[in-house]
Amino acid sequence: MTSTGTHDGSLERLKREGRIVVVGASLAGLRAAETMREKGFAGSLTMIGDEPYEPYDRPPLSKQVLLGNAVADHTALPRRRAIDADWRLGVPATGLDMAARRVELGNGDAVEYDRLLIATGVRARPWPNAEEGALKGVFVLRTRDDGEGLQRALAAGPRRVLVIGAGFTGSEIASACRERGLDVTVAERGDAPLVGALGGVIGAVAAEMHRENGVDLRTGVMVTSLEGDPSGRVRAAHFSDGSTVEADVVVVSLGAQRNTEWLSGSGLGAGPRGIACDAGCRAFDVRGIVTDDIYVAGDVARSPHALFGYQFLSLEHWGNAVAQADTAAHNMLSASADRRPHLWVPAFWSSQFGVNIKSVGVPPMGTEILITQGSLAERRFAAAYGYQGRLIAAVTFDNCRWLPFYEQQIEATAPFPPPFSTVDRRPEGTKPMPADFPDPSVPTHGPTITLSGYSPADRKMTFTPGR
């Protein structure tokens, strides 16, 4: 089918001489821009980014860069093609006038658009006490500058590193520290690392990994305050159990916040949970009416997924940014009958303590878990998550070649527990056990996946700092 567009030819005009503005010059923004040019968009393309750098890749920052195997300023993303864009880097977008179709910039400029793509992503959640967070030696890890600064601090050989929060990023940082031979303490408010993303059964395995690799892991505690020395450098942290840990590098790893503040008052349906959009990436306004000319993609988007009961999912996943950007770009240049839904099955990976962790589906939706292959004790296994008799997610530890199989099963809404009984030995038995996710009404660290909507699995994981 050709995308011949609308009867009045406005689509052809848009493709020929329209103005498209992309706010957010990272993975999603770049991939969307490439797709638009591939689809024949010949008009003007403006890329707006608040960081002074061209789009770069973030996963290496918590792995290769922290290990000292790569440098942070060598993480620029490869291009699939030239995009011939007008780059506005180092300038944040500060406002949106939907009626005038205009994006306002921090330097007083304004850029008009016919189609707007918002891909402003998330930023690291800062330490709640600004004064303590400003102490020298206190880091977050999200941007290229963060990665470079933390790498330098680790290379300087601190006596002890404290990582606050044991989600994926915090765990990867702890792993890199141990590999560099540094003493590291990890403070986690939940009962185990990764518990918000993968549940308590897998969290217990993660806790073993930390401890066996020499991490001083403290669970069920919060850091109540950070203490500096007279020169303004961090020297200790005080815990809710009354203990104190001395550390000269502290990494705050408490999840992320969505970059939507610049849209407040614009009339777009944007808030702390992201920007609501339809399955075709078109943003909703505050009245719940879908816009025609504003699209969203990547970490900042919150879109309904047909495979998961039309729940609105916000996914901070690398693959989601790529796939959603591609769908958004396609739809921005298509007539309504040619548009397609974003149906990417959530998937992510992590690498820590030499173990490759990968997942498909939506684990936090699962209520039960079954080790389907391998064994927890060997730390080489595949585990399936069940929700109301259906396979909803799977995670593998050093067993990733099985993951595409589970992905197909999830896509086909296969039953849970899985009926296949002969694929592998099952030392842990064939009976599912509770997946043991934390009570969603009790806040933990920032989640990898935020679920919302009408389902009983609705989780409000807003972090409330313990005082």
């Binding site: 024949g40 010949a42 093609r81 050093d398």
Partner: protein, 87 residues
């Protein structure tokens, strides 16, 4: 020479680490580490690694020069010249 590996696709076959060991390395049994900005001297090794990856997970930057010899598969007639079309 910029590259990125789609680690959702990567299944740890280690062909890249075998063919371009200065750029790719296995970390543990399955995890892959790579240098996202490889030395130009590694170009041939990296090209071999890209070709050999069983799941085609490595994206290498395509330069203007490369693109001049390519036809964009998805381009719509009348637009989509290599540099993105007329302004």
């Amino acid at each position: 020479m910029r590259l990125v590996v789609d680690l959702n696709r990567c299944q740890g076959y280690a062909q890249c680490a075998f063919l371009a060991p200065d750029v790719f390395a296995m970390h543990g049994d399955e995890s892959l580490l790579y240098n996202p900005e490889a030395d130009p001297a590694q170009r041939e090794d990296v090209m071999r690694a890209v070709a050999a990856c069983p799941v085609q997970a490595i994206l290498l930057e395509i330069t203007d020069e490369d693109m001049a010899n390519m036809v964009a598969p998805d381009a719509v007639a009348g637009a989509g010249s290599p540099s993105g079309g007329a302004r």
